[in-house]
């Protein structure tokens, strides 16, 4: 998988440039962050629509149980030295995620426990089991709590596989080889008995570095003079690329099934689309993504990459296909600018300057360097993106909503005045400009503004403190009645006072 990726990348660049790019912490962290964001946002959209956002919270905690149990199972197999990047651990963790889902749904389906409480029972239980197993049986495995929660996205560039492109022949060192480090060892020497200089001493040649080396190992041990053409590829980048592609294929390949089983599971079932299977496939991929992102962003912050971009995109459009495009873009935005924020740069705004201002107020003891967790900063950027969308979205945003509401209020007020004037053609005291606001209980200025607008529209005329409905005002009123009060005849409306 990585090899294909590298060959693809090498179509565009040289191995040297690729290596220097892949050892740039910023580039790798941003790339991994963007991949996590894309794969999370794709799946998170469906979780949001299925109202299962918090399932990610549960899954991201219970995958720990899967990791622990698989690790213990691997430990039990003799001759196998399990390490924490084994693919079995990913599968085991994903299995634990699916078990969480099944346990929660079994509890809910029994009808005895509501869905939220079922989740709240299932995942603390599984989490408790994993904590007990860890503290009881694998004490010597150091699980760094910080790494579990926050991840080490700033360091993923350093954990690499190497790939060889040219001069890749493995090197075999035999004792005859000039590069072999051969020393003669006395096999039958004993302390106080036969000494090395004794004629009876038997010597054997022992080779320290014999064996077969891959080109990378040979270069690392300086056994060859010319460097093989190597590419050092960060493990997390490879894993997340694979997971992103997997999610992409799943969402595109099963788009119809996913859409239908999300919006109308009953119809999906009757059409033979197996919504149950799709559901568990989705949950399996959520678990796999959570495990894959574990190293980079940790177990809690990964939730953000599922929930927040999808929620922001949901406030921008109604079309599922568009949400699936916008959500990864928002996620990528958060990952990209999050790195800057961690280093104290928020779109060119320096956080350090803010700290200098806050120093005398909060008592920061003059420590004004903002250099913080990268993954947390990415999540903060995602949150800021959500806030921006929530406020500014043209369709569902706060500003758009309040504009729409004030527009409706203005139009309603204008109709009220026009109707009032039409209802009192013979009572000048009802139409007096100076007292009109009292009839409605509005403020004088509010009334003045409505009158001003009506007058500039030409709907009313004003003569000596007396307001009068103009012809165009009458027409506007009639049009309003036709549209909004079709069953009320004007005569009837007039008689109601």
């Amino acid at each position: 998988m990585d090899t294909i990726l590298i060959e693809f990348l090498l179509l565009f660049t040289t191995p040297e440039a690729l290596n220097s790019g892949l050892s740039d912490p910023r580039l790798v962290a941003t790339l991994v962050g963007i991949l996590v964001a894309i794969s999370g946002a794709l799946l998170g959209t469906f979780l949001l629509l299925r109202r299962m956002s918090l399932m990610t919270d549960a899954i991201s905690h219970t995958i720990l149980l899967g990791i622990v149990v698989t690790f213990m199972a691997l430990l039990a197999i003799p001759g196998l030295e399990p390490d924490l990047s084994s693919p079995w651990l990913i599968l085991g963790a994903a299995g634990a995620g699916v078990i969480t889902v099944i346990l929660t749904e079994t509890l809910t389906r029994s009808g005895l426990v509501k869905a939220d409480a079922a989740l709240g029972i299932a995942f603390p239980l599984l989490f408790a089991l994993s904590v007990i197993l860890i503290s009881r049986y694998i004490e010597n495995v150091h699980l760094d709590t910080d790494a579990v929660i926050v991840g080490e996205i700033g360091l993923v560039w350093a954990d690499t596989h190497s790939y060889c492109l040219a001069q890749c022949d493995p090197i075999t060192i035999t004792p005859e080889d000039p590069r072999a480090e051969v020393r003669r060892v006395c096999v039958n020497c004993t302390r106080g008995g036969i000494g090395p200089r004794d004629p009876e001493a038997i010597f054997e040649e022992e080779c320290n570095n014999c064996g077969t080396y891959s080109a990378a190992e040979a270069w690392g041990a300086r056994l060859i003079d010319t460097a093989p053409s190597l590419v050092y590829f960060p493990k997390a980048l490879g894993v997340m690329s694979l997971i992103t592609l997997l999610n992409l294929f799943f969402v595109i390949g099963f788009y119809k099934e996913l859409k239908l089983s999300t919006f109308d599971p009953a119809l999906a079932r009757s059409l033979g689309l197996r919504p149950g299977l799709i559901h568990y496939a989705l949950m399996f991929l959520v678990s796999v993504t959570a495990v894959g992102a574990f190293d980079a962003v940790g177990s809690i912050l990964v939730i953000a990459f599922f929930i927040v971009p999808a929620a922001a995109a949901y406030l921008l459009t109604d079309r599922l296909a568009l949400i699936l495009v916008i959500a990864p873009i928002i996620g990528g935005f958060g990952a990209y600018f999050g790195y800057d924020l961690a280093r104290g740069n928020l779109f060119g705004l320096q956080v350090n300057d803010l700290l200098v201002i806050l120093d005398p107020i909060l008592g920061l003891d003059g420590y004004t360097t903002w250099n913080v967790s990268i993954s947390a900063s990415m999540v903060i950027m995602l949150f800021l993106a959500f806030m921006g969308v929530w406020i500014l979205s043209p369709r569902y945003g706060l500003i758009a909503n309040s504009l729409r509401r004030s527009d409706q209020q203005r139009r309603f007020r204008e109709q009220m005045i026009l109707g009032h004037l039409a209802n009192h053609p013979d009572q000048p005291e009802e139409r007096a400009l100076s007292t009109l606001h009292q009839h409605f209980g509005w403020s004088r200025w509010g009334m003045a503004w409505v009158i001003f607008r009506l007058r500039s529209q030409g709907a009313i005329t004003i003569q000596d403190d007396l307001t009068e409905l103009s012809e165009s005002g009458r027409a506007a009123l009639a049009a309003f009645r036709q549209v909004n009060l079709p069953h009320v005849t004007p005569q009837h409306a007039d008689s109601v006072q």
């Binding site: 299962m52 709240g120 912050l301 903002w370």
Partner: protein, 317 residues
Amino acid sequence: MLRSRAAIIAAVTLACLIALLAIGAWGFGIEYSYTLQTVAIGGGLLGLISGVIGSFGVLRQQSLMGDAISHAALPGVAIAFLIAGRELGALMIGAGIASLLGVYWITAVTQTSRIKQDTAMGIVLVSWFAFGIALLSYIQGRPDASQAGLDRFIFGQAAAITAEDVRLITVIGTGLLLITALFWKEFKLIAFNYEFAAANGYPVRFLDALLSLMIVITIVLGLQLAGVILMVGLLIAPAVAARQWVTGLGAMVGLAGVFGLFAGMIGSGVSALDVGLPTGPMIILIASLIVAIALLFAPERGVIAQWRRTHQTVSKE
């Protein structure tokens, strides 16, 4: 009749508790040392309070609110630490303010947009938490680095509870129970018919905030002992178990308190005996066991009762 059933189950649970303690003493020769007593009493009280407070969250179908607001407390803790240093009172006030802001944010988003409550809770949980983590890593970067012990706030530390902590739990817990009793009618109303309460002029926003604050305080109290995630479980499990046995609110809340007491005492007691077993997870295991028993054996609602009912109906036909 139902009230008396609650009394019977509560009595049985308490009798089991005493019996277990006695078996421990005579059967296994466990000495009830001062430390063990302290830990068990602390755990029991915490379970009792969690059971009572958690009942309202479960009934309002906001069980996971505890999860969200307890994570949301982190930035408040970090800022309070920056301002006041490691002062438990200040940390709790910081936690309370941050969580309340989170609750208000959830309400604001769900009321003004089409984001549903579960999603809003998820956003607050992780965004506030991320902000807290960023602040924590800023604090850790400080040269004086006097931040040690702050991540205990997240995970809890097993069996390190002192008599001082137990006194604190007792005082604050009594306060929480008193508030519950004082606002009993109001809490009951918003648990079962929120709209009706709002329409009748009850200060529902205030009651919401009060209930959230009480959950935050309970969780902060329990952090030392159990850590965030497991406190979430302890707020939910006793209430769910109690709900299977009885139907009245009073009976349910009381029973949840007794179940919580049982799980807290036995769980923390067992873990204090053996260093290898962490406190919070043990409490959760016991609480889950109580839930399993309730789901299986509860009359009327339980799985076995349901099965027998359908079985009888089928055989009659």
